[in-house]
């Protein structure tokens, strides 16, 4: 062997290798995804637009499954009492909460961005409120932490504590927003173009919505907040309505009804719910022809005779089985009106009419506020009709025959208020369902379908299955605490002892 020679070559090689290969300087750049914006490059307005797109433009659907529970819709071959329709709501809510939390984190302590900070905090309450109303107890205090402090298995807070926290937060934000704040989202805020006063009014109105929701379970808390709110700046006209217009630039930004039509060959498989059609029909409501189309059969008849008085409007109860289903052939059913089939519509957040009905109820049931309930009731009806451009004569005529005074007792008045609120909330199906759960109004008739809920309209939706997988201890704990992760489990504020009314079997099955 020639050890000396080997060592010589080895040395040469090691030298060569270290010259050519000992260079990892460019590794960091190589391993940085060029497509991503860094914190420094980010404009937080981009995040807000995304959140409003996902949570508001894609936030309600008057022909979706929840709309069945609101009395708005009756969707085809669906089995609305079987679970599994809402797998994405949970993740979608928290995904957007995280983006909102990022805005808050990136603007915190920056004197020139306090405007954005406050608006983001209002949005945060808005999204948490939607989530807790869907599920009940949810991750709150340990949820949506920054990536460096993430809690991978967040615990579930009680709805009671979340409600308390949200109300306090909105109270604080009201005063923050009423002071002049530096910094604006500009047009990135598709709802109010970063108008702080409007956001303040929205924050107060949202607080009214939230406070009223706890009326049956914690009247003192409701009273505490509403008594303040009746003297504060709320949304005061349709001009201050909270909504985001849908947008025609991409399919995903369009009105979901329009999108459904386009994606289904111009045919809507979904029909209107019996509840809202009957409410509109029975009171000769001028909104009927705006919200609802006449049945195809009646159109054929009316066209052949040339008499539009023959047009019929008929919704379908939900939860029909077998023969019940046959009694409602599609040719005798109404669908959502043309007003809601345009690509660009207002996607609802909170309207002036809702504020009016809330104040009507507050006066009626809690004796809070100065104006009488019937005044707020009329304002609410008027506001909603004006939203559709209905002329004054028709409004006045409707109000004269549908005044709150026609009924005497408090509960009947409440039912009238809630029925009108249901119509005025359209197409905001989550709020309408929540108000139904809270008060039991409007009465929604259902067929004999059993499903997973033993024939009852769901009181909440199931947590996603993934939580049982990746957050099992907290999931088991919360399931036990709320009385089972079931669609029939009532959330904390769902405490009206009179609800539900006896519904099953009440529908009449006409002879086929």
């Amino acid at each position: 062997m020639k050890p000396y020679k080997i060592s010589k070559y080895l040395l040469a090689l090691v030298a060569a290798v270290s010259l050519v290969y000992a260079c990892t300087d460019d590794f960091q750049e190589l391993n940085t995804n060029p497509a991503l914006l860094s914190e420094e490059q980010l404009d937080v307005g981009l995040l807000l637009t995304r959140v409003q797109q996902e949570m508001i433009i894609n936030g309600s659907n008057p022909i979706g499954t929840l709309a069945n529970y609101a009395g708005y819709a009756s969707s085809g071959g669906n089995r609305p009492f079987d679970g599994g329709f809402f797998s994405d709501e949970f993740a979608k809510g928290y995904r957007n909460l995280l983006n909102i939390s990022e805005i808050i984190r990136l603007t915190d302590g920056d004197a020139e961005m306090q405007g954005q900070n406050a608006i983001a905090r209002v949005m945060r309450v808005y999204i948490f409120h939607r989530l807790t109303d869907l599920y009940g107890d949810i991750p709150y205090s340990e949820a949506v932490k920054a990536s460096s402090e993430v809690i991978t298995q967040p615990m579930y807070d009680t709805q009671e504590s979340i409600y308390g926290s949200m109300l306090d937060e909105l109270k604080e934000l009201s005063s923050v927003l009423s002071e002049t704040q530096q910094g604006s989202f500009g047009d990135s805020d598709m709802m109010y173009q970063s108008d702080n006063e409007k956001w303040m009014r929205f924050a107060n109105s949202l607080r009214l919505r939230i406070a009223l929701r706890v009326r049956y379970v914690d009247e003192a808390l409701a009273r505490e907040h509403i008594s303040e709110l009746v003297n504060m700046d709320l949304i005061e006209s349709n001009e201050e309505n909270a909504f985001v217009p849908s947008s025609d630039d991409f399919d995903s930004n369009q009105n979901p009804v329009y999108n459904r039509l386009i994606s289904n060959s111009g045919i809507l498989p979904e029909h209107m719910g019996q509840t809202i059609v009957d409410l509109l029909n029975d009171q000769d409501d001028p909104r009927l022809t705006i919200l609802v189309t006449p049945t195809p059969n009646s159109v054929m008849v009316a066209d052949s005779v040339g008499d539009s008085n023959l047009l019929e409007y008929r919704g379908r109860p939900l939860g029909l089985e077998g023969l019940e289903r046959d009694a409602y052939p599609t040719s005798d059913l109404s669908q959502i009106g043309l007003y809601y089939r345009e690509p660009v519509i207002e996607m609802p957040v909170l309207y002036y009419s809702e504020v009016c009905f809330a104040l009507a109820e507050a006066k009626l049931m809690l004796d809070l506020g100065s104006l009488e309930a019937d005044v707020w009731y009329e304002r609410g009806v008027r506001a909603d009709m004006e939203r559709y451009g209905i002329d004054e004569a028709e409004i006045a005529s409707f109000l004269s025959s549908n005044s709150l005074d026609v009924v005497a007792d408090e509960e009947a008045k409440l039912e009238m208020i809630m029925n009108q609120k249901n119509i005025a909330l359209f197409p905001n199906e989550l709020e309408a369902w929540s108000e139904w759960r809270r008060t039991g109004y409007p009465k929604i008739l259902i067929g004999s379908m059993v499903g997973e809920t033993d024939g009852q309209i769901p009181r909440r939706i199931n947590y996603p299955v993934s939580e049982a997988n990746v957050n099992s201890v907290n999931y088991q704990e919360v399931s036990t605490r709320i009385g089972g992760d079931l669609m029939t489990t009532k959330v904390w504020w769902d405490a009206n002892p009179n609800v539900p009314y006896e519904h099953p079997g009440e529908i009449l099955v006409p002879e086929p």
Partner: protein, 1061 residues
């Protein structure tokens, strides 16, 4: 094809011209072993020349030589014989076994050739013929059943699709469990770009290995464990498949021409089964949207949104026609093969011509091949052309050059859509109501170009295949240049650089009116993929003393890879049928770039004592760009030893021919995908109300990412008996991979989807057995060889990170597949039946099945208990018959096809156990006992106890409440099927024409074979649902163990012709 035909003609003439040669004497004879058994394939060379030949299958040969020249006869495992040619024309040779010189060599890591006896780890080599006769379009798929410990999933995605190969189980659960493919020493890119997604579907555009032409492959070697692969570094943690392509060889006179033609036809082997009795609706009506008057009579009009098949028995009921309601239509079931008739026979033709030439100084080989395929889905085609040139030259005594250029072109047209996408025809066909005559759907659009269908609920399958189209074209070059310099007789250096780059252009379009794109869609994406590898290796080799010899290699390498995509998706077409991006109103651009670099230095040494005791040591250090800033560098060593105890202890005998023990320990580091270390915000390319949008990344990065590390040890033995007629190769291994780099699911309550962890441990333990025997070997040349391989592997998840309960590999409404600490890898988890303590199903108050609340449990596991392959090969004279039986035992599959068929009532299983009750309704009784007391009305308004809790139900249920409950209650247990199978994977009957027959032809050899692959399942347990137990729609690990809407699997039968001039 024309081009190839003319090429072949030209080459025939060229060869005929070369045949005019002159020789002194023709020597012929038979070469046998000492027992007189003829030896085929004995190499015969005229010493000092390039003149040579080989013995025939019956051991005979003939060669023209000059008198007085020397002929050398050499054969594996035999002592080489040299004879001087006398004037006699006959020279018969008996060869003696050389028990000491079992000189088989095998190519190992970095292209280092090693004697098999010196190997301290398990490696298995397969000859190229095994891939080229009974072939798969994707060469990796043909490994199925052939190598112990290698699990291959056949993926029903058509020709040109990806393959999925897993060696020794899943070591990394991050999705990268594929082996590294190395062609002629240079790693190639094997990614499946934009693979089909489990839920969203997509198309399988093929992986990197799918471009290799089987006719160019000399052999494939599977390096199974980390020991074998230690020198390839990080990417070899899952094993390595070395592909050696053919060279010109050094024994040819003139130019050798080989022509190979392979023609196969593909027909459906398995496809879903259907009920042929019940119509649409939910019973007892078909579900009408109203009625109409035809010729004065009232008929029901079927609801176009109603297409669940739980309705009444189809017995010719007259309703309004679903297409033209002014006519009537009789509701009768379609023949049971109507769905099958949607498909056609596939056809694949592969023609390869190769030219080779060479002597001891230089050689070359050029091959040209063309593959044309028509798939089983009408309009789906795949074409592949390859050109492969390899050249070698000894420039001087010390300096040699080896180089290769391989050009691959492929084009796919209308590759099938997969999984749950509407572009997958199966997503419609498995739920087609039974009264629909597919022929009436063939005119799939009306005069306005709008889709025609019986329902608005899903796509007409003919629309799918005609109006949802895709086209892809790839141009790829793989090549290398390698230079070798010998400093002296013990030291040489090799420097090598290789590249693999391609452009892949993908176009897809959907017509206006498509369900998934009502406003139409067009997209163009161009992928640029590049992988460069360069290395330098110094090797010193010498005898250290009489008894000791050794070698030492020291090297360094650099890998750089880049994948880049540019393109755009256009939606909402302005003008119909104009599929150009400028015709779209909504345009979404796409650009992505992923780069990585790895630098490495390594050393490998071997020490041999008396040629029976061997010690191998390797060490390697990698610097990888994808890891955290302070963690780029990682080091790992290996050691292995081989002890040929028959030589050492002089135990060799006619009975015990050879015996070896081996042991090895190895560590291999592994890195990850790029871009897991930094957090950022994703800018949305779509505006809303004119505003831009962005969102935080949904995955939490890990800035301190460090490498995974696999530690593995293995023991094995290699023994041969009865003069090598019986061989046993056994391996036990145990490996553990720590610090898994893994994006795991975390609670959505965090706002994130996943978090990159760098923790946890996966353990793999298993055995492999390879058994060869030649039970019969007769003097008349009849021989029977039997090869059996068997492997058992268990993957276990020892731990994940703190706060992480499980890693969900796939999730759908029919269950999840998970890696959960303390459990076996790949558990199928889901809802199950509510049962009592005796295991009886508890029925609800209506006598229906129930699921046990929201509780989930382990319903199965995707890993097989064991896999095996049995190859029988019979040869007699020129005939050979070989069969391959491929066995997988154990393991479950989650069936989405069964789920959908259960949800819609179309599966044949939804008619089991039905009878007609007094009302004429078909009913069945759930198999279970009542959970609570069950009362019925006695007719007088009194409720009387009919069944006590715990009694077996006799409550009649219609089909929807019997079988429909499986999906309405999501009883996932019903959809977990036993994936065991025994498959007749391959039959190959071949005949080689003898030299005598060929003597008067220009051919030097000719062989014809009848081949069949994936012929049938001798055993499967898929519950009659008609889905292949191998179902998977993508080569990604996330798609394993579950199938959704799987396309029919195919068998192929054909002929292979091989001639050489």
């Amino acid at each position: 094809m024309k081009k190839f035909a003319s090429l072949i003609l030209m080459s025939v003439f060229a060869v005929l011209a070369l045949h005019a040669q002159e020789k002194d004497l023709t020597v012929a004879g038979v070469v046998t072993d000492m027992d007189g058994v003829p030896l085929p394939g004995v190499s015969i060379v005229e010493v000092g020349t390039v003149n040579g030949t080989q013995t025939d299958f019956d051991g005979s040969y003939s060669i023209e030589v000059a008198v007085g020249s020397e002929l050398r006869f050499s054969y594996l495992g035999m002592k080489t014989e040299t004879r001087t040619v006398q004037s006699s024309n006959v020279l018969n040779i008996k060869m003696q076994e050389d028990l000491n010189q079992l000189s088989e060599v095998i190519v190992t890591a970095l292209g280092i050739e090693k004697s098999k006896k010196a190997l301290g780890y398990s490696a298995q080599e397969i000859d190229g013929d095994a891939f080229s006769e009974a072939r798969e379009t994707n060469i990796a798929s043909s490994l199925a059943g052939k190598v112990a410990g290698v699990q291959v999933s056949n993926i029903a995605t058509g020709a040109g699709g990806s393959s999925r190969v897993v060696i020794r189980g899943n070591s990394s659960i991050s999705g990268n469990d594929a082996p590294l493919y190395v062609v002629d020493g240079i790693p190639i890119d094997n990614q499946n770009i934009d693979p089909a997604d489990y839920a969203a579907g997509g198309v399988d555009y093929g992986d990197g290995i799918s471009g290799i032409n089987p006719d160019d492959v000399e052999s494939m070697t599977v390096l199974k464990g980390p020991n074998a692969a230690a020198l390839y570094g990080a990417r070899a943690a899952n094993g390595v498949i070395l592909i050696t392509t053919k060279t010109g060889g050094s024994k040819k006179k003139g130019i050798g021409v080989t022509f190979n033609s392979n023609l196969t036809s593909e027909t459906i082997a398995t496809m879903p089964t259907y009920q042929n009795r019940f119509g649409i609706g939910y019973d007892p009506s078909f579900g009408a949207s109203g009625t109409t008057i035809i010729d004065g009579k009232e008929y029901e009009v079927l609801d176009p949104n109603q297409w669940q098949s739980w309705g009444p028995e189809l017995n010719g009921q007259i309703v309004a026609d679903w297409e033209d309601p002014t006519k009537t239509f009789a509701m009768v079931p379609q023949p049971s093969d109507n769905i099958r008739n949607f498909f056609q026979s596939g056809f694949t033709a592969t023609n390869t011509v190769s030219f080779s030439s060479g002597d001891e100084k230089a050689n070359m080989r050029l091959s040209l091949s063309n593959l044309g395929n028509e798939g089983i889905i009408p309009g789906s085609t795949y074409d592949r052309q390859t050109i492969n040139f390899r050249g070698f030259a000894n420039v001087t005594d010390r300096f040699s050059i080896d180089a290769k250029v391989n050009y691959i072109h492929h084009k796919g047209v209308n590759r099938p859509g997969l999984a749950a996408s509407s572009s997958n025809v199966m997503s419609v066909l498995i739920q087609m109501p039974r009264h629909i005559d597919l022929d009436r759907l063939k005119d799939y659009k009306d005069e306005n170009g709008d889709p025609f269908n019986f329902t608005t609920a899903f796509e007409n399958p003919y629309w799918t295949i005609n109006e949802l189209q895709n086209e892809d074209e790839r141009d790829r070059v793989i090549g290398f240049v390698s230079m070798n310099y010998k400093f002296n007789d013990w030291l040489n250096v090799r420097a090598r650089t290789g590249t693999d780059f391609y452009t892949d252009e993908r176009f897809s379009r959907r017509a206006i009116g498509s369900r998934s794109a009502r406003t139409g869609r067009v997209s163009n994406y161009t992928w640029h993929v590049k992988e460069n590898n360069s290395d330098i290796l110094f090797t010193a080799e010498d005898d250290l003393s009489e008894n000791w010899s050794g070698s030492l290699s020291v090297g360094a390498s650099r890998l750089y890879s880049k994948t880049e995509v540019t393109g755009a998706l256009g939606q909402s077409l302005r003008v119909p049928e104009l599929y150009h991006i400028t015709n779209a109103e909504q345009i979404t651009p796409r650009y992505d770039k992923v780069e990585r670099e790895m630098q490495s230095v390594y050393a490998a040494g071997q020490l041999a004592y008396k040629n029976y005791l061997f010690l191998d040591l390797t060490a390697r250090n990698d610097w990888s760009s994808v890891l955290g800033i302070n963690n780029y560098s990682f080091f790992y060593p290996s050691v292995s030893t081989s002890f040929v105890f028959t030589d050492a202890l002089k135990l060799n005998s006619n009975v015990f021919s050879f015996g070896k023990l081996r042991a090895g320990y190895a560590e291999v580091g592994n890195d990850s995908n790029p871009y897991l270390t930094t957090l950022g915000y994703v800018s949305n390319t779509q505006t809303v109300n004119g505003q831009g949008q962005a969102a935080i990344q949904t995955q939490i990065p890990n800035p301190n990412l460090k490498n995974e590390l696999t530690r593995s040890y293995e023991f094995g033995t290699d023994m041969r008996f009865f003069k090598n007629r019986v061989g046993i190769d056994f391996t036990y291994y145990n490996s553990s991979t720590k610090n898994q780099i893994l994006p795991v699911n975390i609670s959505s309550g965090t706002g994130f989807n996943r978090m990159v962890i760098n923790a946890g441990e996966i353990q793999n333990e298993g055995v492999e057995l390879l058994f060869n025997v030649t039970p019969i070997q007769l003097k008349n040349s009849f021989q029977w060889d039997l090869t059996l391989n068997y492997a058992k592997n268990k993957s276990k998840v020892v731990s994940l990170a703190d706060g992480i309960e499980t890693h969900i590999m796939s999730q759908d409404r029919w269950g999840t597949i998970e890696a959960r600490p303390g459990e076996d890898f790949g558990n199928i988890v889901g809802f199950y039946y509510k049962r009592n303590e005796n295991g009886e199903k508890l029925l609800d108050e209506y006598g229906r099945y129930q699921r046990d609340g929201n509780n989930v449990k382990i319903l199965g596991n995707i890993q097989p208990d064991w896999i095996a392959g049995i190859t029988n090969r019979f040869s007699y004279k020129g005939f050979t018959l070989s069969t391959l039986i491929d066995i997988k035992m154990g393991g479950e599959l989650l069936s989405g096809t069964k789920y959908i068929q259960a949800a819609r009532g179309t599966g044949r299983f939804t008619t089991k156990g039905l009878r007609q009750n007094e009302d004429g309704v078909w009913v069945g009784v759930a198999d279970g006992v009542m959970e609570n007391d069950y009362y019925v009305d006695d007719g007088n308004g009194n409720q009387v106890l009919h069944l006590a809790a715990g009694e077996r139900s006799d409550i009649e249920l219609d089909r929807v409440n019997l079988y429909g409950m499986w999906t309405r209650a999501d009883i996932i247990e019903e959809f977990v099927l036993d994936a065991s199978y025994i498959s007749l994977r391959e039959i190959n009957l071949g005949y080689s024409f003898s030299e005598k027959l060929l003597a008067k032809t220009p051919f030097t050899s000719a062989r014809i074979s009848l081949v069949g692959r994936n012929l049938l399942y001798l055993q499967e347990h898929m519950d009659g649902i008609g889905v292949t137990p191998e179902a998977a729609f993508s080569s990604e690990s996330g798609s394993q163990g579950s199938e959704s809407y799987t396309l029919p699997s195919t068998r192929s039968v054909g002929v292979n012709l091989n001639v050489a001039f």
